[in-house]
């Protein structure tokens, strides 16, 4: 039986939440489960083009541990999910507008395009929905 698609609404700029979103998205996508991620609010800053881990990820003790222990990089994990599985990533059009960003402000090769929340929520009606 096919797995229900997984829809992840990623809003937080906290490292641990971005990391968990990346882990869920990548593992789900490579497990023959369609996954879609909608990135908005503070989370969008983690995907700005050309940033290193210290600029990209912010958080508390666990963020420091993730960096010190060299846990898999979240943006890299999202990329692996796209390369190896069925993962789509959408940049919140409102977040882009508020920042005055175009898609080329974000890391290359990760996003499938800008999207509005209404369309994402409509698509998500028949799947499992997770907010981080």
């Amino acid at each position: 039986m096919a797995s229900a698609p997984l829809y992840i609404l990623l809003c937080s700029g906290e490292h641990e939440k971005i990391q968990m979103a990346a882990m869920m998205a990548s593992v789900g996508a490579v497990s023959e489960r369609p996954v879609e991620v909608f990135v908005s609010m503070n989370a969008i800053f983690a995907f700005a083009k050309g940033r290193g881990p210290d600029e990209r990820y912010h958080g508390g003790a666990f963020s420091r541990a993730l960096k010190e222990k060299r846990a898999p990089d979240a943006v890299t994990l999202f990329g692996q999910g796209k390369e190896l599985g069925d993962l789509k990533m959408w940049a919140c059009s409102m977040a882009l507008d508020v920042q005055g960003w175009e898609m080329d402000a974000l890391e290359d090769g990760l996003f499938d395009g800008p999207l509005g929340l209404t369309k994402f929520l409509s698509d998500a009606e028949n799947g499992q929905f997770v907010t981080l």
Binding site: V27, V30, S31, P72, Q80
Partner: protein, 76 residues
């Protein structure tokens, strides 16, 4: 004749060993085997779970001195 490729994922954290396995499986032929060496406790259960879900084949899973050797055969 089938071949076996070894991946040394010791020191990699979840889901690193699984992602390395999946990337390697893309590159080998059906019937070939991948051996993953991992020190990540979760991978010892995660990899067999993934293998069953996507219908590859588990060959073996053994632990020695904190290092798991997990062998998977590409089935499709």
């Amino acid at each position: 004749m089938s071949e076996r490729t070894k991946i040394d994922a010791r020191g990699a954290f979840c889901p690193g060993p699984l992602m390395e396995l999946i990337a390697a499986l893309k590159l080998v032929e059906i019937g070939d085997e991948i051996e993953v060496l991992s020190t990540d406790k979760g991978s010892a259960k995660d990899i067999p779970e993934w293998v069953a879900k996507v219908r590859h084949e588990m060959v073996s899973s053994n632990e020695e001195n904190g290092v798991w050797s997990i062998v998977v055969r590409k089935a499709k």
